[in-house]
């Protein structure tokens, strides 16, 4: 590492992109979500508004009955008009005032059945305009869509002013006959008001619809920004449907056996295969390999999404080729490997994949197992236990080896052909499985010397764990595929 801190940090930045965990944060989904949530309430309010004009029309017959009360409302409406004369007040403020007046009147009087529903539409309207205000403010801030108020306000201001003028004239003439119930006047006045409300309403509706359209378009735009066809997002959502990790299965098996033996009041917990595998650090290495593999898989998907057409099919062919090279069908052959064969095969393979990976540990484990299997055993159970332990230890060592290989392939700068690596990996995988089979066979033959009741059980147990070991090893080797695949892109 360089002594200079600047270099240290810049390199740190450089490697940031390679970090799979940071890929997740590239998607701006939360923002988009909040947007879509924001415009929803507006939509429902607006749909309520479309019923508005009908509502008002049907209420007309009841207006006569309400004339008395209207005279009480009139001064308040006048006050409203005065407010309107001050051009400094904005429209939303006016609607707020209206709302307040409505609240007051509706709490004071109880017999306004027909009207109160009309007013509630009005209050709905004002809340709707407030809401659209908020949304459009948010929009102008975020994506620059024009506010519906702005769209509607130009015409609206003119209309409101005209109405005010006529109203002021009317009031002058009507003032002397205060107590007389001039139905015609009130009717015309009310219909004028409803007209204003109607036009304002329709302006807001059309403005709101425009905004909605803009929001919708912009949302899709944002979602598809740098992600045509939403492929990345789809990949994001579907990758969670993966199967359970092997390490989790093994971990659970281990815990289950621990609890069982504890329940059976055994002083010493029976050292089952899963427990042994964990104590030989097999699980932690497998878990780490899964972590790397997942990271590479995610990166791989992201990279693939940036390709299309023939380029994409070319790359997919390449990736499939690597996958096929890594695959081998172990069940088909009955090959076994003695200690020497295993050593030679392993060293050749590893050297062809990455020279930095150390083979000492797995070879030492292999030697030790061989040594142990040649000693004298005093009982059948001790052979059985030794066999299970040997299988678990070699499997754990293989996990570690695969994990180290994964790490080295990830950062490898050696210009070794990936196809060669994949081939060697397949041979390596086979070698380890052959060695496992050899060990199982050896212990099984030791067990056959005994002829007790449990012998056949013990033998099948050894073979069972041997086949388990093989499948764990093969699964672990599969985890290297995304790592290899990523190195060709």
């Amino acid at each position: 590492m360089s002594d200079s801190e600047a270099e240290f940090e810049s390199a740190d930045e450089g490697s940031k992109n390679e970090d799979g965990w940071e890929i997740e944060s590239d998607f701006d989904l939360p923002d988009v979500k909040s947007l879509s949530v924001e415009y929803k309430p507006t939509e429902t309010k607006l749909s309520a508004l479309t019923n508005f004009s009908e509502n008002v029309d049907t209420k007309h017959p009841e207006i006569n009955d309400a004339c008395n009360e209207m005279s009480m409302v009139q001064p308040k409406l006048d006050k409203l008009d005065v407010n309107n004369d001050n051009n400094t007040k904005s429209e939303s403020q006016v609607s707020e005032v209206i709302q307040n007046e409505i609240k007051q009147t509706s709490t004071q009087t109880t017999g306004w059945g027909g009207w109160s529903s009309g007013w509630s539409v009005n209050s709905l309207l004002s809340t709707a305009s407030l809401l659209t205000n908020q949304v459009s403010q948010g929009l102008t801030n975020v994506i620059g869509a024009p506010a519906p108020e702005q769209l509607a306000s130009v015409d609206n201001n003119k209309e409101v002013k005209n109405v005010q003028e006529t109203k002021v004239n009317d009031e002058v003439t009507e003032e002397p006959s205060k107590s007389i119930l001039d139905t015609n006047y009130f009717l015309s006045n009310v219909s004028q008001i409803t007209k204003i409300v109607e036009t304002t309403g329709s302006k807001i509706i059309s403005g709101g619809l425009d905004t909605l359209e803009t929001v919708g378009k912009k949302t899709i735009e944002v979602l598809q920004d740098g992600d045509p066809g939403l492929r990345k997002k789809r990949a994001m959502f579907f990758q969670n449907t993966e199967k359970i990790n092997l390490s989790q299965v093994l971990q659970e098996a281990k815990e289950k056996s621990e609890v069982e033996s504890k329940q059976n009041n055994q002083v010493e917990i029976k050292k089952g295969y899963a427990y042994l595998l964990d104590s030989f650090q097999g699980l932690i290495h497998l878990e780490s390999l899964e972590l790397l593999s997942k990271q590479c898989q995610m990166k791989l998907q992201t990279v693939l999404l940036s390709y299309s057409g023939t380029q994409l099919t070319d790359i997919q062919d390449k990736l499939d080729q690597i996958k096929d090279l890594c695959y081998f069908d172990f069940d088909d052959d009955e090959k076994c490997m003695s200690i020497e064969e295993f050593r030679n095969s392993l060293i050749t393979c590893i050297n062809k994949i990455s020279t930095d990976v150390k083979t000492e540990k797995i070879l030492r484990v292999s030697d030790l197992i061989d040594e142990k299997s040649n000693k004298e055993f005093d009982s059948e159970d001790s052979i059985h236990n030794e066999a299970i332990s040997a299988l678990a230890e070699l499997t754990a060592a293989a996990m570690e080896l695969f994990y180290k290989l994964g790490e080295m392939i990830m950062i490898d700068s050696q210009n070794q052909l990936v196809t060669v690596k994949a081939e060697q990996l397949s041979i390596l995988n086979e070698s380890v499985c052959c060695r496992i089979r050899f060990i199982a066979n050896k212990y099984a033959s030791l067990l056959t010397n005994y002829d007790a009741d449990g012998t056949s059980n013990n033998i099948s147990d050894v073979y069972l764990e041997s086949s388990n070991s093989s499948s764990y090893i093969q699964d672990a080797a599969q985890l290297l595929i995304p790592i290899l695949q990523l190195s060709v892109i």
Binding site: M1, E5, G20, Q281, S288, K404, E407, S413
Partner: protein, 220 residues
Amino acid sequence: MADLMFDYQFRLILIGDSTVGKSSLLKFFNDGKFVEVSDPTVGVDFFARTIQIPSGPRIKLQLWDTAGQERFRSITKSYYRNSVGALLIYDITKRASFEHIPVWMNDAKRHIEPHRPVFVLVGCKLDLVNNGASKREVTEEEAKQFGAEHNIFTVETSAKTGSNVELAFSAITQEIYQRIKSGEYQMEEGWDGIKSGYSHHSASIDFNNYIEAEPAKSCC
């Protein structure tokens, strides 16, 4: 080798420049032996040891020994997230390794978020300074000052003589345990920094065993 019975499992990560002595420190803590020749760590290595907090729980430490080499950093970073604590390691005889400590610390903080990791600052190769083989480039006071500033425990160790090795690990373990007791740390699904151990969640079974054992004694 880690014991089976433990109440908690903590995941700790060792970070610092390459060749400061992370692996040697860990090997001594794990085996009680000093390895004269040590290969550079490839990626991340794992160790586990169970320690007993005095009149407290048994704690399994899962120790992640990271490679200090630059080329491994994209890999080692993946392991930060699931750690509850980090040992910041520097070489007493190498000034630059101490100066990089804030960088390592911020890196860990950033990746362990939203969890607040426990740090300890560990100086290595104390024996080289004591026997005069190398010149000290980082004073104890400087390290202490850094520790006081960031409110972290500091210690100088030697993986050759074993001096203070145990202390470095027990200090970080104690601090994590304190934070569990105070409620700052909780076990979380999907985070492996702290896990409860086997003996912890099967306390009720222990109780049953105890009841059964009693009458047997009175019989005889």
